[in-house]
Symmetry: C2
Subunit: 113 residues, 2 copies
């Protein structure tokens, strides 16, 4: 099982909707709400080992998906580009209406990723 980490939390956020409701719920409790295995076990009424296995299977699903598609990594790069573009545009001297449209586009790109 992964250490609780930002990377898995990001993959959960990005691909979590492919998981079954039960798996997504357990992963959310573990990674986003920072519950322990025992607390999750009590919450959903299965053994601690059962929780551990659900988390492991979910992590494998999310990791495999990213290994195959690489879309989460692309999204990180796109966000960095959009943020840098927005910063450059903000500091730039351009005719106002065009600048507004460009800034809106850069923001849309930032939020879309």
């Amino acid at each position: 099982m992964f250490e609780k980490n930002l990377e898995m939390s990001f993959l959960l956020d990005f691909y979590g909707d492919v998981l079954s409701e039960r798996k997504r719920s357990v992963m959310t409790m573990y990674y986003n709400e920072d519950l322990s295995l025992s607390e999750i076990a009590d919450e959903i009424g299965i053994s601690r080992q059962g929780v551990r296995e659900l988390i492991k299977k979910s992590e494998d699903e999310l990791t495999t998906l990213e290994q195959k598609l690489g879309l989460a990594q692309k999204s990180v790069i796109a966000r960095e580009c959009a943020e840098r573009l927005k910063a450059l545009l903000t500091d730039c001297e351009i005719d106002s209406p065009v600048k507004s449209e460009m800034l809106a586009l850069a923001e849309a790109l930032e939020n879309n990723t």
Copy 2:
């Protein structure tokens, strides 16, 4: 089965790597190389009905993935924003080094989606 269409071809391009090698191969022949069911059946040595079923299952996988994640649709929107941004930047009067960097970022965003 879907009509051969651009939408499925796009989903295949976007999520195709999640399919098994066999399914991806059949889908590529059908959607990208425009082979008929009979031609694919001859090519891989299964029945025409077998090919039809593989295509149907693959389409369901790709469609379900997009229904859950919506990343292909987001990618289309991001590309449109990046193209528009690039066009505005190209026509804009800005200091040259900054303009070059912004254009490079817009292009990176266009190609990353």
